[in-house]
Every structure is written in structure tokens, then in C-alpha cells.
Amino acid sequence: MGVSELLASALRMSVPILLTALGAVYTERAGVVNIGLEGMMIAGTFWGAVGSFYYGPFVGVLLGMLAGMLLALIHAVASVTFKINQIVSGVAMNILAAGLTRFLCIQFFSMATTSPQVHSFKAWSIPLLDQVSFLKPVVTGVSPLIVVALLLVPVTYYVLNRTVFGLRLRSVGENPLAADTLGVNVTLTQYAGVLISGALAGLAGTYLAVEHTGMYIEGMTQGRGFIALAAMIFGNWAPVGAMWASFLFGLSESISFRVVASKIPYQFIKMIPYVVTLVVLAGVIRRATPPAADGVPYERGGE
């Protein structure tokens, strides 16, 4: 009984990480490092709440994704078109997002740090599965966005490996020069990758605000954008791997809620996801193979 509730909690905690990690897969497979995902997630929390407050959760999702994409667009312009360092641009995105949301929150809600309560989606119960008592906590009262996030895993896999867009996206991340000479529009493809990552990070933020909490609160992402990057790396730049990694991080987070009574100081429990990330990076990353041109701005030779 406790186990299945723990799983349900882990699932809830891993969804924002998973969505953002999937976004990170898109952008990094296109060769653009997007450390601004945290900021895009923050934008998603705020705009998701705004949209949902005024027009309901569907508009919330739409606005949240658009806000993430808008920041992603700035990142793409800076790092793809102007070829400035992608980390620098990403850091700037994070600062910008934090300042903007605080400012806009005051403008929209006359409050600096929170929105009023907003509308959420109607929770779902997965038919049939909700009859199994062990699974009950996991499959009842499920946010539709959780289902969407889980569906996006095979979708992403399919898009990357079975579509023309995916092939081109990957080629640009592996060898943009080759892709360019073969007629792939490197700039456009990288923009697409970055924008998708922004949309998914925005969706992740929307999930946090609209579905998980029911309101926007400043700083509610709590660094999950960075954890998502780590999950993507841990997951070897692939959607299914990212899913398991996200679940691991979600699980470690939800375990941290449940061992409060233990003797381990609370602060150490809070460290778990970050320490897990470090351990995983130190031990596992050597097996991992990032796209060959990841993080390297592509500059056409010659002219």
C-alpha cells in the first residue's frame, strides 16, 4: 500500500523533470545546449497560471508553452544565429525569466510572488487499471498532463528515429557541416530543436503550477530544469533513458518526503537528488555519448 502511494508520488514529482528532459533531448540532439530550461520552466509556471486563471487550463497550457518558446526563441537567436556561447545565453535566460515573472506577477496579480488559485484539469482515472488495488493510487486522480508526458516518451522516440525531421535534427547535432552540405537547413533545424525544448519546459512549468499546486509561486521550479538536464545526460540523450532517469530523480525526491521522521538530518535528504546526479554523472557519463557537435556553434566555412 505504501509502495504504490510512493510510486504515485514519484510519478508526480518526475513528470516536470521528464517533460523538460524530453525537451532537452530535442535541443541537445540538435546540438544546442540549453541551460536556460530552468528559466523556460519558470516562464511556464507563471504563464500557465495566468492562462488558467483567466481562461482555464487549456489556455494555461497554451500560454505556458508559448512563454517557454518565446524564451527559447531568444536563446536560439542568441546562440544559433549570433553564435554566442550557449551557456552564457542560457544563464541570461534564467536571470531574465526570474526578473520577468516577478515583474509580471505584480502587474497581473498585484502580488510579487504568487498567483491566486487557478483552475486545474479534471483528474482522470485510467479505466481497468484502477480496478487493481495495488495500482489504484497510481492510476486514479491522475492529471491528464501526466498521461501526456508519458505518451511523449514513445512519441519522441518515434520522432527522433522514424521521421525525416528527427533524422535531420540528429544529423545537425552530430555533424552540422555534413548536414549543411547535404541540404539540411542547419539553422532552421536547430531553431526547431530549441523551440520544442522551450515548449516542453513551458509545459513542465505549467504542470507544476496548474496541475500540481493549483497556483503560481515564485521559485516553485526549485532547480528542476537543471535536474532535467542531468536526467537527459543520465538517460544518454535518449527519450526512454531520460524517462527512467527522471523517474529516478522523482523517486529520490518523493522518498525524501517520506523519511522525514528518520534520524538523518532533513537537509541531507534534501540533497539526495543532487548527490544522485553527481554520482550518476561521475560514474555513468563515461558510457554516455553526447551528440558529437553538442554545444559547438556551427559556423559555415568559406564565406
Binding site: T163, V164, F165, A178, L182, G183, G302
Partner: protein, 514 residues
Amino acid sequence: MSSTTGAEIVRLEGVTKRFPGVLANDRVDLSIMGGEIHAIVGENGAGKSTLMKILYGLYRPDSGTIYLRGAKQSIDGPGRAVALGIGMVHQHFMLIPAFTVTENIILGHEPSRTFLNFKKVATHIGELCRKYGFSLDPGAPVSSLSVGEQQRVEILKVLYRGADVLILDEPTAVLVPQEVAELFNNLRALKAAGKTIIFISHKLDEVLEIADRVSVLRQGRMVGTVEAARTDKRALAEMMVGRPVLFDLTKPQVTPGDVLLDVSGLTVPGRGTRPVVNAASFKVRAGEVYGIAGVEGNGQTELIEAVMGLRKPIAGAVHLQGQAATGLTPGELRRRGLAFIPEDRHKRGLVLPMTIWENLILGFHRDPGFSKPSGLNLKSIMSHSNEMKKRFDIRLSRLENPVLALSGGNQQKVILAREFSHDPRVIIASQPSRGLDIGATEFVHQQILKAKGAGKAVLLLSADLEEVMSLADRIGVIYNGEIVAELAADQVTPQELGLYMTGGKRQTREGVPA
């Protein structure tokens, strides 16, 4: 497609392309007939690649016209070239190692705009393979293929796009002889199917073997086009260089002294199971130039990196001036009198954005002469730099300029100046004249011989047989990571050397010093 056979298919008129400081192509005219194999030769930097990149739309010419099948064309990008039936295989493969053969082939030219249907594509690729006698597994990742197979993928890529005109830029430079033979078989099959092939190579024997006609470029200009059947190597070489070749360098007569560099049984692991360098052994004495000849990709790079401490050998030993030097860092080796002229000066030799004077002291910046306890001794560095500038005739405007502002030859002189100025005992020179023009090349050669005359031991690696034969006293031939022969330079013919280099012949074990 065979309709074009025999008629002129490509015509370039007055093509000019200028790069900063270089006239890469100077009013070049060229005519290619349909269905022929047309070779283009010329020295490094003659403008061959530039001309082909213009035809393929990678560069826009500054002036000049391109005609295809008689019609004037403006080729503004590779996409346009492909649409016109032109395909290009670069010397440096444009492949994505992480992708499968099929993915590499269809990229940018997918059969549908949305979803990938690998089954359908696979049959198409299978047909192409059968037609031209290629053997390839379409599902294999390219990273698992041999160099020859990778090249076949490149050619398939071009064919898949329906090219009639195939440009191959130095396709054989990276191939072992068997692979060259197989490539030539493929090319003949293509020609038989009516394809036109433009073939760039530095290897005149190959050119004469496979080409119908040969065009020669020299310093950006078209010298002329000849029928392969009506010319020979010597004539071609003379056209390329503009004067009789094999200029005689007067090797100073020096009696070899002590063994200064002793490499024994050096083995370096490769990516697969086979080591890239397999028990390589040789000795270089004072006052001697020891050449290592070999087709590129036979382990030379790894061998030198292992000697230099840049790569870890799994077996074997290096002795420098009689002392064990295996596993020392490059810094320690340099302090013990080893100098290093790397094969890729941009990668290993220079820090391009840093100034010329800074590059002139790279690695010696902690020498007491250049650094005081309080920091760099700029006064002595500047006077040293000025001296080097004079001694090595480095043409520069200001020592404070970044070294990337220099021409290739002068960049190489910066490296020579740096490496020779500290009175090394042993010099490792890897492809020292690569990419240099004739003047700079001669300067480099003179410096090497001067070092020999001064009693230094020189280890020379070069892909250029003439260079090795004219500079070295003894030549070790490397093939497949092994030193397969060791020969006296004045007692060997290029033909014999070539045979060793291509694995056609090897000395018995006793011939190789243990």
C-alpha cells in the same frame, strides 16, 4: 544518362576565386566530357579543391561562368548542384559516425517529407549496390566501417541523389592499396554506366592508371589538359611544379654518431582489437635523418604521439640520449632535448589567437631566460623574438599580431624557430612541409638538413615520398602500424618503397633492428 557520353558535360570559363591574401583560382578554364574520368592534379594549395567546391556550389566564384550540358548555370549551393546532377565526395568524409549507412545516405534527400520508410529505402540502396558492385550492410553504423567502406557510403550518397557527375577529392589519400584497387573497380563500373568522374589526386601513378584525361593546376592557374595515354609522370610533375622535379638537395655528409632516439617494440592500442602501432622499433643517431614513410592512416600519427608522451603505449620503450623516456610527459621530454614539429600545426603546433611572440615561447615560457620570479621577462622575450624573426625570415608586420594572421608558411616558420632555437638534440618533424608552397618547403628542408649537419638526430615523417627520399638517410616503412622495412635512402627506388608502403612486400624480421 549515357546520352551525354562523349559530349561536353561541364565547362568552366574564367573562374576566379580569391581568399584573403590568396588567389586560389585565377581565370581557370576547364572542360569535362561526359562519361570520362577526368583527373585534376596540382601541388598543395594549387586550387583544386577550391575549383571543385565552386562547381559543387560550396563557394561562389568571384567571376567566371559555369556551363552544364551547354547551359549557363548559377550554382548557388550544394542543393542546386545536386539538382543539376553533380555530386561531391570530400577528402574528409562528411559522414555521421553515429548514423547507419542508410541514414547517412538518405539524409537531406529523404524519399518522403515526413516519415522514414526504411524498408523502401533499403531496397533502393540494395539496387544501387548491386548495380555498381558495392558490398555494404545498409543497417550497419558508419562508425563500425573501414575507411574504404566509408568512402563507398559517400559515393553511394552521391549516386542516391542521382548524380551524373561525381567529384572525388583525393579519394585515395586515405586508402590502403587493396582499397584503392577496389575503388578503381567501382569507378570503372560507374564509368561503364555512363557516369562522369572528376578525380583529384597527388599520386600520379594512380592518375595515369584510372584517368582518361588530366588537367593540371599550378598556383591557381590552369596549366593545361592532357590525355592520360599520351603523357607520363615526369611530364605531369613538371607541369605541376613549373620546373623539373626532384630538385637535388645536397645532403651534408655526416658520420652518424650515438643513438639519440631509440624506440623499441612500441605498441599503441587502437579502437578495435588490433593495435594501431604494433611493436615499432627503430633507432635514430646523431647527424642522421631517419625517415618514416607510409600511406596516411597507417599509425604514423599515433606512433609519434606515443613517442612524444601524448598517448599511452601498452608496450615497448623509448630511450632519449640513452636514458629511459617512456611515459614521460611532453614537457619532460622537451626539457631533455626533444623538439617536435607536429603534423597539424593548427591543432598541435600553435595557439592561433595568441600573439606571434607568445607562440615563439610556447613550452619554453618557464625557461629562466624568459621568466623571472616576478613574471614573464618581456624584454628578453621580445629580443629573442626579433632574433628569431630575422634568423628564420618570418614575414610579419608586428610581433603582437595573433599568429593566425600569418600565412601557412610563416606559421610553420614560427614553429621551426621555436623548436630549433633551444638547441634540441632530437627533432621529430611530422609532415613539416604539408600545405606549404615551394619556397617555404625548401626553407623547411634546408633547416632540417642544417640540423642534421649540426649533429642532431632527426625523425622525419612524411606522406610525400620525394621528401622522405631526398632528406632521409635511412627510411623505415610503416604499414598497418608495423615497421615493415628499413632501407638506406640511396639504395632504394620509389617503386620499391611504394611496394613496402602498400604491403606488397616486407623485410624479414632480421632486417628490422630489434
